[in-house]
Point group: C2
Chain length 256, copies 2
């Protein structure tokens, strides 16, 4: 039987521990091609590089695996993978991550990890973005691996609805403490932000973003609820931002 | 009566003709504060600056108007406007644009213009992203202005559903040729992309993104349809990317 082709990317850069963990699971399930940023790209959202050239170089980070590092954003990586690296080879699955830190709730719109997965879904490739709720470089990915594998196997076997992706977040727990998977909606949470203000060595003022995540969504069907209750959260996501509920009230606009 | 407070931003940079047109309309309707990027930020999507300091400087580009230029992304501009510039003054409306070029359909996810508007909507500020279907620096914004004004007046008078924003695209037509406003859904269109491959002066290969917009959505309720039929398209949009339709088929995951 032909082994599936799995495209792996991320936003923390090609050498991050999270993508190494993801590659180690992916290579058990299929033939792997890695195209990932050559430097960390956190918070890049769905940014693309349009005003500058992009570089793409083969990488020998992963022994026995075809890998490339790219100077662009996570979304650029997926576009280059499709058009330059893979060309006529269409991946059966794209996985992005494992991100160091949560991409639950509203974080999906700021996340390079999830934007890469969404870009793949726009190209008709079933895709999953994985994140572990541990921001440290030395995050412990082992307990996450069985769930990562399970979800990849599921999507390889069943596919996903056209244009759909999964936003998967994994609680930072030891093996055996994670209770299972929950299919959820994106919680209505937000960032309560502030800026650190300081002066640089030349006396010029600068601002640095910082903030605190606030969940005011009391639903027990959200990703935040699942994570707080020791489940892996799985949010089926897509790229249609239309707010269909607002149509009725706005119809008056048409007779202005 | 107290004049409304209107926050103006964009992604083409504080001196772009499009934001000048927007400011000229906004100042007729209220007190205006401008916080916009100091350089073009097209294609930045919902990127935020987390690993670097951000600069913010007063600008005298707009006579008699409080304005600031920011070294960050469009989303950074909105965050700095809220937390540093405005503090206790909450805007009644945020407008972003007028973008030089379409942000209809899938372009919303790559667009700095719309991401700035979405960021404002996340902060509870009713917001509108405006785009004109003319990519040139010398784009002719005059015919767009009456529609821009009409929509700003409507949202100032009626507000928008919490967390909602409007993605407004304006056809590139002469005055009198635009038929009116249409409330639409985001068309299911996509980019058919390729990369230009070339060598730099040092013989190193580079890639440059290019592409062609393809609409395969035949619906007459989409933004692309409206624009092709000489209407201004108004897509009510939001930040919830949950694909609710996919829940049923994915429930099986919970019993894995």
């Amino acid at each position: 039987m032909k082994r599936p082709l799995i495209l792996v990317t991320n936003d923390d850069g090609i050498t991050a521990p999270g993508i190494r963990a993801l590659v180690s699971v992916a290579r058990e399930l299929g033939d792997v091609v890695v195209v990932a940023p050559d430097s960390p790209q956190s918070g890049m959202g769905h940014a693309i590089t349009v005003s500058d050239p992009i570089r793409l170089h083969p990488s020998d980070v992963y022994e026995g695996i075809e890998a490339y590092e790219c100077s662009g954003t996570p979304v650029d990586c997926v576009k280059l993978a499709k058009h330059i690296v893979l060309k006529d080879r269409k991946p059966d699955l794209c996985v992005s991550g494992i991100n160091h830190g949560s991409n639950a709730s509203i974080n999906i719109i700021y996340s390079g990890t999830l934007s890469a997965a969404m870009e793949a879904s726009l190209e008709g490739i079933p895709s999953i973005g994985f994140s572990l709720l541990d921001y440290s470089h030395n995050a412990h990915f082992e307990p996450a691996k069985p769930f990562v594998k399970q979800l990849m196997e599921y999507v390889l076997a069943h596919g996903l609805e056209e244009g759909s992706l999964l936003n998967v977040n994994i609680p930072n727990l030891e093996e055996g403490q994670i209770k299972g998977l929950r299919v959820c909606r994106q919680a209505e949470a937000r960032w309560d932000e502030e800026f650190t203000v300081a002066e640089d060595p030349r006396g010029q003022k600068y601002y640095w973003l910082t903030g605190r995540f606030v969940n005011e969504d009391k639903g027990d069907d959200t990703d935040i609820w699942a994570l707080q209750n020791d489940y892996v959260s799985v949010v089926p996501s897509m790229h249609d931002l239309t707010n269909y509920r607002a149509f009725k009230s706005l119809k008056a606009l048409e007779s202005l």
